[in-house]
Every structure is written in structure tokens, then in C-alpha cells.
């Protein structure tokens, strides 16, 4: 039913390592279907990080800095 279900069943069960770094290598050996899929996953990963990094690089709003200063000041009075 789910395309993801098929992939999940092919992935090793070990859960210790983040899969991220293995995705490129997995399936390249023998399965052409997975090879296409891993290529897509690399593109998705790149796009995700591009979008996300751009958000991370936005400046911290002054409002939040003031909020924390205020919280700290209140604590000092307590």
C-alpha cells in the first residue's frame, strides 16, 4: 500500500545509526529500483536542508531577546 512500507522492509533492522548517511549506499549494489529511489532521497535531503538552513539563518527577533532579558530580570528580583 505505502511505498514507504516496501522500503522499510528492505532496510536493516538495526536502529542505532541514523539512516541518513547510509541511504546513498543502500540498494546501489543490486536493486535498480532502490537506486532510483536513493537518488530521489538524496535530492530530497538536499532540498530539505537548503530550505531549513535558510530558516535557521534568519536573525533572532529582538522581541525574543527582550523577553529573555525580562525573565532574567524578574528572577533577579525574586
Amino acid at each position: 500500500m505505502q511505498p514507504g512500507g516496501k522500503d522499510a522492509s528492505r532496510e536493516p533492522e538495526t536502529s542505532g545509526e541514523p539512516q541518513e548517511h547510509n541511504d546513498m549506499n543502500q540498494g546501489i549494489e543490486d536493486d535498480t529500483d532502490l537506486k532510483l529511489n536513493s537518488r530521489a532521497q538524496v535530492l530530497i535531503g538536499q532540498r530539505l536542508r537548503t530550505v531549513y538552513d535558510e530558516l535557521v539563518q534568519q536573525p533572532v527577533p529582538e522581541r525574543l531577546l527582550k523577553l529573555l532579558e525580562e525573565l532574567e530580570r524578574k528572577e533577579g528580583k525574586e
Binding site: Q2, P3, G4, G5, D7, A8, E11, S15, G16, E17, P18, Q19, E20, T32, K35, L36, N37, R39, A40, Q41, L43, I44, G45, Q46, R47, L48, R49, T50, V51, Y52, E54, L55, V56, Q57, Q58, V60, P61, R63, L64, L65, L67, L68, E69, L71, E72, E75, G76
Partner: protein
């Protein structure tokens, strides 16, 4: 306490860019994201006694943020979904760099994911947390996170047409594979 407080404030400031990126990517609405971050900082400050020094402060705050988001989502599901398009329009001015895959298409596809799939993909793929860390943040098993990430990727590939070779911007090796498949 007065000695510890300034460093906590500084540490919190250090997490704000990531909290904002995560909130924005998770909910897709700038105003809601802004509220989420503010509420997270307020809650984090109020419950600072429950934070164990030396553990991952960012993960602790992400837990607060996602719990706040998911409980607000349960309360007003319809309202939250109405903000469709907010993220895409916010990011519309971002520069195009990576081939012909459109940034707006990606953001649109991200919105099609279920919130828990989006959360898992963001924390693993964008924030670089481990499956165990994400499992702890989201309060479920690592296997569940893994399955959500896999489904998220498969769904994105489908939505962005990445399963079709023409849209892939395929390199020569991929083209060769496809030609072999078609032969």
C-alpha cells in the same frame, strides 16, 4: 542561581534560530511559529528546574515546542490547516540553486505530509538528531520514527515526481539504469 541565570539565557538564545526554523517548518505559518517559539521559551524558563544540566538543551526545548504544537493541533485542527500556503509564500524569495526542482514545490509537498511525518523528517533530515533522540522527543519508539521518515521521503518523492526519470534531473548513471530497465 543568579550565577546560573545569565548562562541559561545565553544558552536559550543560542537555540532560538533552530527553534524558529523547526516551528516554521512544522506548522507552516509564520505567526503560529512565532507564538510557538515564544511559548517554548516561556515554558522552558518556567520549568528550567526540570532540565538536567549537561543533557541536550536543544532536544529538551524541541520536545516542549512539539508538544505545544501537537496539543494545539488537537485542539484546533481545522484552524491550523487553514494556513496553507503561508510557508510557501514566505519562502518565495529564496534563491534557486538546485536544478529545476522548484523550492515552492518542495514546500508545497512538505505541507502534504502528515504532521508527525513532517516532524520526523525535519528532526532527522534537517536537524540531524538520531532516531533515538527523535523517539525521545516525540515520545514513541525509534522504529516508529524510522517508518515515519521513510513514508515522508516516499511521499515527497511521489509528490515531487521524483520517481519519474524525466523530473529527476538524472545523472548519466541513473539514465543508464533506466535504459537498462526499459530495454
Amino acid at each position: 542561581m543568579t550565577e546560573q541565570a545569565p548562562s541559561l539565557r545565553i544558552a536559550l538564545i543560542g537555540t532560538i534560530p533552530n527553534l524558529r526554523a523547526f516551528a516554521m517548518s512544522l506548522c507552516g505559518d509564520p505567526h503560529l511559529a512565532s507564538d510557538l517559539v515564544q511559548e517554548t521559551l516561556l515554558k522552558g524558563w518556567a520549568h528550567r528546574d526540570t532540565y538536567v544540566p549537561g543533557t541536550n538543551l536543544k532536544a529538551w526545548l524541541f520536545t516542549i515546542l512539539r508538544n505545544t504544537y501537537f496539543s494545539s493541533l488537537r485542539k484546533s485542527r481545522r484552524e491550523v490547516q487553514d494556513v496553507d500556503g503561508a510557508m510557501a509564500s514566505t519562502l518565495a524569495s529564496a534563491p534557486e540553486q538546485h536544478g529545476h526542482l522548484d523550492l515552492a514545490d518542495f514546500n508545497k509537498a512538505m505541507k502534504q505530509l502528515s504532521p508527525d511525518q513532517r516532524e520526523a523528517l525535519l528532526l532527522i533530515g534537517a536537524e540531524g538528531f538520531s532516531y533515538e533522540e527523535v523517539a525521545e522527543i516525540a515520545g514513541c519508539a525509534p522504529g516508529t520514527i524510522k517508518s515515519r521518515v521513510n513514508r515522508a521521503r516516499a511521499r515527497l518523492a511521489e509528490l515531487m515526481g521524483l520517481n519519474s526519470v524525466d523530473d529527476l534531473g538524472a545523472g548519466a548513471s541513473v539514465q543508464a539504469v533506466v535504459q537498462r530497465l526499459q530495454a
